[in-house]
């Protein structure tokens, strides 16, 4: 297969240096920038403009839908399909339906959160061009990476490389991917 350029990746030794570099790079007007870090570095997402609060809403609505379905199920069973007189209580004895409603809400919230997080992150995904970056495994160990992607409107090899070098990167490499 022909290899094409995915982007240029710079390596840093600490989260602080990465964050400072990300600010500089964004300041120069690059938009398609992504960071790869050994842990969640606070502030990087805001700097790169990738903030996404949809997971929160997915979990919230998952919980609401789960709880509603849980209650409706009990309503259908206890009032419509299988009414039963237990100690003279009304068919719709809602206080005793609270525990199951609650558990259904929690279950759906957690599961939709899992699916939502994975889905929004585009996982599972067998391969990603960034895996072809030299030494990228260290992003799971002790190195911090910043990648300017080739589809950035401002992308030109010379200026990208010199801009990244100017941020104090340990190394700057091209990422060639199939």
């Amino acid at each position: 297969m022909v290899k094409s350029l995915f982007g240029v990746v710079a390596r840093y030794s600490s989260g602080e240096k990465l964050l400072a570099a990300a600010k500089q790079i964004r300041g120069k007007g690059y938009n398609n920038v992504e960071a790869y870090t050994p842990y969640h570095v606070e502030g990087v997402v805001d700097t790169l403009g990738n903030k996404d609060d949809r997971v929160t809403w997915i979990v919230f609505f998952g919980g609401v839908i789960g709880a509603s379905l849980g209650f409706l199920l009990q309503y259908y069973v206890a009032v419509i399909d299988y009414p039963m007189n237990v100690g003279g209580r009304p068919n719709l004895s809602w206080p005793s339906f609270i525990p199951v409603t609650f558990e259904c809400g929690i279950l759906c919230a957690a599961l939709s959160g899992l699916v939502g997080m994975l889905g929004l992150n585009g996982l599972p995904r067998p391969h990603h061009p960034i895996f072809d970056a030299p030494g990228i495994e260290a992003s799971g160990r002790d190195k911090f990476f910043l990648c300017i992607e080739a589809d950035d409107p401002q992308f030109s090899m010379e200026s990208v490389k010199s801009d990244l070098q100017a941020t104090g990167a340990e190394s700057v490499d091209e990422v060639m991917s199939e």
């Binding site: 989260g15 992504e34 960071a35 790869y36 870090t37 050994p38 842990y39 969640h40 570095v41 990087v44 997402v45 790169l48 990738n50 996404d52 609060d53 997971v55 929160t56 979990v59 919980g63 199920l73 009990q74 069973v77 206890a78 399909d81 299988y82 039963m84 237990v86 209580r89 004895s93 005793s96 525990p99 199951v100 609650f102 558990e103 259904c104 929690i106 279950l107 919230a109 957690a110 599961l111 959160g113 899992l114 939502g116 997080m117 994975l118 929004l120 992150n121 585009g122 996982l123 599972p124 995904r125 067998p126 990603h128 960034i130 895996f131 495994e137 992003s139 799971g140 160990r141 002790d142």
Partner: protein, 471 residues
């Protein structure tokens, strides 16, 4: 601002020794990828397989013969199965407490111990879930417990705490599994990147699902992790409360009390922390994890045991007091029977294990002497099992009419199946030690960063401010 910083920076070092992001990752990540395990691991695996065999035998016999092989009778229909169910599920609760509640309270020391305790939760809930199903009599019809449209035209009775239990325990297991797995994803990605063998790389590659440590990934991941902690916190409280409703909603003397939910939850945390310590003390020695699971962690877990032990002791006192103060003839008769009747030795052994033993934990020296602490955790585990035994059995065997009284004696197969669940539990833990990073690497890296930042801030502050400097 400076004052605030100072107040949080005292004693906030939970990673000892000279560690970097790299050494932490290598240390923990190397264990599942290495071909060599400590000798003690083989010992644990061997013992667990023996007990697991015992469990399989006992369950097979149970399926062929029926619950008659147990000591259950009328009036004591619940017997060992329910005692063990409540005990195991209580043990599971400490895992969720450590991983969720301590996370929300920003107790950073939880980082080193959360993976082990969450795994303990998963296997403890598996052991727990086994018992009510086997106790059904016809376990192959366990699916009757779930609401599904069927030819009988019947539905579960949603006003019954036993049905709530089905929902609570199955939700608890699923959510705990999701929480555990989400926490594991970045660490599996580390294994994927470091594995030498093709099989290890293949399996961890599939499980990591293409995780690539990108900032956008981390952002959504952290959001979800925090939300799952927020969901698990009320969940864990609800689960043991609902388990206690199995008892409290009935009208039996000794069960029908409002103190049960909080008292059960405190007891669950108590036994759970005891079990975490029982596992953690040998594990940190076997795998050389003493830099991450420090004496401070052990000390603080022992303190939580002490605190919850005191709550449990208060629960016993209130149970006895209200049995008398309520003026109910049956309640007071139950209490007298508990303390002086056929099962009195169990009751006093329980008081010794759960109320007297934790008092040793007031002494810092006891909390820091590992073998003494280890023995105390075992004693507390036995004590909590005795508590479940006393609650289930003494109320059932003497209820209202003397003509309906009867004694319960556990049989060989009661013990076999109980011992067997230890096999399942230890087998699971041994597999976990062998194949899964035991401590959360990504979170430890984050914590190391936070601690370093604080140390640097403190040092620069000292440079700036001479002694007695104004704030």
């Amino acid at each position: 601002m400076i004052d605030q910083k100072k107040s949080i920076s005292v004693e906030e070092q939970f990673i000892e020794g000279e560690h970097t992001y790299g050494t932490i990752t290598d240390k923990i990540g190397a264990i599942p990828l290495s071909q060599h395990q400590p000798k003690s691991w083989f010992l644990m695996m061997g013992a667990s397989l023996l007990l697991l065999g015992c469990l399989v035998t006992a369950i097979t016999l149970l399926l062929f013969v029926g619950v008659g092989i147990w000591g259950v009778n009328n009036p004591t229909g619940w017997g060992f199965a329910i005692v063990n169910f409540v005990w195991w599920i209580g043990i599971g609760h400490a895992g969720t407490l450590i991983s969720a509640i301590l996370l929300l309270m920003r107790q950073r020391w939880r980082t080193s111990i959360n993976r082990v305790s969450e795994t303990m939760t998963l296997f403890a809930v598996m052991c727990a879930g086994l018992f009510p199903i086997l106790h059904l009599g016809r376990p192959w019809l366990a699916y009757y417990l779930f609401p599904y449209p069927n030819g009988l035209g019947m539905w579960p009775q949603f006003r019954s705490p036993l049905v709530w239990d089905v929902f609570a325990v199955s939700t608890y297991f699923t959510v705990s599994l999701v929480f555990w797995f989400v926490g594991l994803i970045p660490d599996i990605a580390v294994l994927r990147d470091n594995a030498k063998s093709k099989i290890a790389r293949g399996i961890s590659g599939i499980l990591a699902m293409g995780w690539r440590n990108s900032a956008a990934h981390w952002h959504r991941y952290e959001t979800l992790y925090l939300l799952l902690a927020g969901l698990s916190t009320p969940l864990v409280v609800s689960v043991h409360s609902i388990v206690s409703f199995d008892f409290a909603v009935s009208i039996l003397p000794g069960w029908h009390t409002t103190i049960f939910p909080p008292y059960f939850v405190a007891g669950a945390v108590y036994s759970g922390f005891a079990m975490v310590l029982t596992l953690m003390i040998p594990m940190r020695a076997w795998y050389g994890l003493k830099d991450m699971v420090t004496m401070k962690h052990i000390d603080w877990m022992a303190k939580i045991m002490l605190a919850t032990g005191l709550i449990v002791g208060y629960g016993y006192a209130m149970e006895a007091f209200y049995a008398w103060y309520s003026g109910s003839f049956y309640e007071w008769a139950m209490m007298k029977n508990r303390a002086l009747g056929y099962y009195a030795p169990f009751y006093w052994a329980l008081i010794f294990c759960n109320v007297v033993t934790p008092f040793f934990l007031w002494f810092p020296k006891v909390r820091r002497t590992l073998w003494v602490l280890w023995i105390i955790t075992i004693v507390v585990n036995i004590g909590m099992w005795l508590e479940r035994f006393v609650i289930v059995i003494t109320s059932l065997h003497h209820d209202f009419m003397p003509s309906a009284w009867g004694n319960f004696r556990p049989m060989l197969w009661d013990w076999a199946i109980y011992g067997g669940t230890f096999g399942l539990f230890l087998f699971g833990m041994a597999l976990f030690m062998r194949f899964v990073p035991m401590l959360p690497m990504a979170e430890l890296r984050h914590q190391l960063h936070a601690e370093k930042g604080e140390r640097e801030a403190r040092e620069s502050e000292q440079e700036r401010e001479p002694v007695g400097g104004a704030h």
